[in-house]
């Protein structure tokens, strides 16, 4: 675990760069983390995914699988990979401020 400053605020991250406490996350931080990952601007479609991931995390205790994202987030699997080219598990969950989803699918 390490501490990092994102959007001017100190937060706790694990060794892979995921938030250890999703409550420390703010929307401003998402934009900064996305920019670091090569996403120049978070579009409404990005936010659909981010909001969905956080909602699922707080309801179920783990982030959604790619299959669930594709079926119920309102964004298709194809779009999901276009929005987050480095992979939804890795990139989208990290930017959403939640731990890496636990599922294998």
């Amino acid at each position: 675990m390490s501490t990092a400053v994102i959007a001017g605020v100190g937060v706790d991250l694990n060794e892979e760069g995921f938030f250890t406490d999703p409550n420390q996350w703010t929307r401003e931080m998402a934009a900064e983390m996305a920019a670091d990952d090569g996403i120049a601007e978070l579009t409404p479609a990005h936010w659909t995914v981010i909001d969905f991931m956080r909602k699922e995390y707080f309801e179920k205790g783990t982030g959604p699988t790619v299959r669930v994202l594709g079926k119920t987030s309102g964004v298709t699997v194809k779009e999901l990979y276009e929005l987050f080219p480095k992979g939804p598990a890795k990139m989208a969950a990290r930017i959403s401020g939640i731990p890496k989803p636990k599922g294998c699918i």
Partner: protein
Amino acid sequence: MSPTTTNGDTITKVSIIISKGSLEGIYPGLIMANGARAEGIEANLFFTFFGLDAVHKTRIEHIKVATVGNPAMHIPTLLGSLPGMSALATHMMTKKMDELDIPPIHEFIEMISDTGCGLYLCKASVDMFGLTKDDFIEQAQEIITVGDFYDIAAGGQIIFT
């Protein structure tokens, strides 16, 4: 921390060969390819020999668990050979997988294709079974030679299943 190999290099690309046509022979390769893409790892699937059933238009709907010659099924071989045993085992396993949110093979392959994973067919096997590109689902991109496969797999890890 990114996925790393034993010598500390980051895994950035995998090419997975699926050579078996049973349920238990197909799923591991699919799960690995899908999981690679979710981690941002470039992935390709190469279907060869009986693995072609996994992308065959009609056979894809009838993939079954092998109940004979598999000690890990924990049923006697003679019992496993009875009519309907394979269908029964398949039914039980697919039901369990559905509960775990593991998609059926056809849906899974469509999803994997949508993740940007390459899906290729082995030319030698396609020819041997007397098949053509039309016999396969639309997600199967191309029939390629083993030489083409190595070109596509260049710079990454190769996994045979």
